[in-house]
């Protein structure tokens, strides 16, 4: 159960991070919204996404150790990106809402697990 939880947590954070990086690109952002993101907001989005990806290392490394953890993390990055791209193509709003939700839930669970 613990393993499943950590895997889902890692996937959720990777998904949110990949979604953010994607939306920081004008072409992908325009799939969601006609308006353009300001340069400053774009920068913030990019930094936040990278931060999410770094945080996503924590659940996998704490579960599987550094070596296997990093291998799993690299795999999850790809899996998350594939999930994001397929969702974005057909349901851009749902995909983005899911990314937002998962980043909040993911970060909150990380904090809770870390404190416990």
């Amino acid at each position: 159960m613990n393993m499943l939880l950590m895997m889902l947590l890692g996937t959720a954070l990777c998904y949110a991070g990949m979604a953010g990086l994607s939306l920081a690109m004008p072409r992908n952002y325009s799939q969601l919204n006609a308006a353009k993101l300001s340069a400053r907001n774009n920068f913030v989005l990019r930094v936040a996404s990278i931060a999410l990806l770094i945080v996503s290392l924590w659940p996998v490394i704490s579960m599987w150790g550094v070596v296997v953890g990093i291998v799993i993390w690299l795999g999850l990055l790809s899996v998350a990106a594939v999930m994001w791209v397929s969702l974005l193509a057909y349901w851009p709003r749902l995909a983005t809402a899911k990314a937002l939700g998962l980043s909040v839930v993911g970060l909150a669970s990380c904090v809770v697990l870390w404190l416990c």
Partner: protein
């Protein structure tokens, strides 16, 4: 790349050459690579598939080999030994595998007079031979693994797979070179735009999973490195066995002498080895039993917990004994890795390829990224034809329409035909009568017959119809599989749920998911064909001026 550009004087020419290589190399290899990839991806779950294909067998995980007492282990070896001494007193090899969590029976393997491997399974308590009435004879998930690395064709198959894997590496590298906007198009997939969408799907599936694709192709070659690249060993050693002895840090393999000698009691060898390792063993092999060169190897029980978080597995312990005198030849202590760094690198790459670390998490990651790989190959092959359907490139002169037709037929049977054959394989497992002789062999034969049938079907039907009909076949076979299972064995999803048999729950739900995806694909294809029905009239008409 810099150098090569310099050689060509114009950078455009290099990219053009790579595009040619990627297109044609990729197309020719894509049919075989799709088969290698699809079966490899399915093979990630080989143990779970074997479990589903053996409904009469006890549940996976129900039996824990660590709870076996020493007396039970020795009894099992004695039963195996008696059977082998009786059936193959003179052989190249005996193997006795103790009951394990994957298979609760005693597993025996030996080589007969014709140097063919034979197998039998004994009941763990009574020691009786398990017959087909008690348990169906099935190829199980091994079918997919063997398709994956040798096409069920032995050494020739291993070489063929290696050949295509090299083409895959070259296709990946040339693909990176010709993809002008890897980062700009990183997350780009625009569906419903014809040729553009096929290219997007091809690019996205390969770029997003590129590290995995490169890793899996390279490590796949490394698994058989001494088969594919023996030259280093040949140049440096008089005999490969000297090399392997150095690498494994073990005494050299003893060649047969031809002098007859009685085999030392195997059960005693097993007991001795356990005492020397100070841990339970799970496997014993005897090389050349009956010959004076006979050697016994006893392997310690693999303890999963000790290797959690490791890519480089520790030794489970191994003892090598003279199987005539019972004398100790070598002992490899458990819980250590006492071999060289270079060998460790090979082992790590092997572990990465086999996905036998990190449990189900890693298996699912590999399954999803493996599917991304199959999508990469399928969309690549389809894209080739989509491009030429719009406008023939007339590469083969007057023969072009015929060649295009052949490519289309091969695409259909290699992609949708193989998908049908893989699901049908599970149907065969449930429907083939249990008393058929060489039942496991027939499972494989029927798999190939069905695949061949898909080729015939594709050759006889117009391409657009053939795609849809085979995909409908795939969807129907997938969606009905749980029902066939219920009718033939009385087992079903709810029953698995109630039993807590998550392996079978996962299997049937995954099959159902693929059935649903199949239905959606058929729907999308049908809608598209209605839309482009007028364009269909222009298909396969070469335009002479486009040469």
């Amino acid at each position: 790349m810099k150098q090569a550009t310099a050689v060509n004087n114009e950078p455009g020419r290099f990219r053009q050459a790579m595009a040619w290589l990627h297109t044609w190399g990729g197309l020719v290899a894509s049919w075989a690579l799709f088969a290698i990839f699809l079966t490899g991806t399915i093979g990630v779950f080989d143990d779970d598939i074997t479990h589903w294909m053996n409904p009469e067998r006890a549940m996976v995980g129900e039996f824990d080999p660590q709870t076996n007492t020493q007396q039970q282990r020795l009894d099992a070896v004695t039963k195996g030994e008696a059977y082998l001494r009786d059936i193959a007193p003179q052989s190249h090899l005996w193997r006795i595998r103790l009951p394990s969590e994957v298979d609760p029976a005693i597993g025996l393997t030996w080589e007969n007079e014709n140097e063919q491997f034979q197998q039998a399974r004994l009941h763990p308590v009574s020691g009786e031979l398990l017959t087909q009435k008690q348990e169906r004879e099935t190829q199980g998930g091994h079918h997919f693994v063997h398709m994956h690395f040798e096409f069920h064709a032995g050494t020739a198959g291993i070489w063929l797979v290696g050949f295509f894997t090299m083409i895959m590496l070259v296709a990946l590298v040339s693909g990176i070179i010709i993809h002008k906007r890897i980062f700009k198009d990183f997350f780009t997939f625009r569906p419903g735009k014809g040729q553009r969408s096929w290219l997007d799907a091809h690019n996205a599936s390969s770029v997003l999973s590129l590290p995995f694709q490169l890793m899996i192709a390279y490590t796949g070659l490394i698994v058989f490195v001494t088969v594919y690249m023996p030259v280093g060993v040949i140049a440096n050693y008089d005999h490969p066995r000297t090399f392997f002895a150095e690498v494994f840090n073990q005494p050299e393999h003893r060649p047969e002498t031809g002098i007859q000698a009685e085999v030392y009691p195997v059960t005693e060898l097993f007991e001795k080895a356990e005492a020397l390792m100070e841990k339970p063993a799970s496997f014993i092999s005897v090389e050349h039993p009956g010959d004076s060169s006979a050697v016994a190897k006893v392997f310690g029980l693999f303890e999963k917990e000790k290797n959690t978080g490791r890519l480089l597995f520790l030794s489970s312990g191994q003892v090598i004994l003279d199987a005539v005198t019972g004398e100790l030849l070598h002992i490899e202590a458990p819980d250590l890795f006492d071999k060289s760094n270079a060998f460790a690198a090979q082992r790590i790459m092997r572990t990465l390829h086999f996905a036998n670390f990190g449990g189900y998490t890693v298996r699912w990651i590999y399954f999803i990224l493996g599917m991304a790989g199959t999508i990469m190959m399928a969309t690549g092959a389809i894209l080739f034809m989509v491009k030429r359907r719009q406008r023939s490139l007339n590469e083969f002169g007057a023969q072009t329409p015929k060649v295009y037709r052949a490519i289309e037929v091969l695409n259909i049977s290699a992609i949708s035909g193989l998908m049908v054959a893989c699901i049908a394989f599970f149907w065969v497992n449930r429907l083939l009568p249990l008393e058929v002789a060489d039942r496991a062999g027939w499972e494989i034969k029927l798999f190939f017959f069905i695949w061949l049938g898909s080729l015939l079907h594709a050759a006889l039907r117009p391409a657009s119809r053939a795609w849809i009909e085979q995909l409908i076949g795939f969807a129907v076979l997938s969606l009905l599989l749980p029902i066939v299972n219920w009718l033939t064995t009385g087992q079903h999803l709810f029953h698995y749920f109630a039993r807590g048999d998550w392996s079978n729950v996962g299997f049937e739900l995954t099959i159902l998911l693929f059935g649903v995806l199949g239905v959606f694909t058929v729907k999308i294809l049908k809608r598209k064909q209605q839309k482009t029905i007028t364009e269909a009239n222009r298909v396969y008409k070469p335009e002479s001026e486009s040469a």
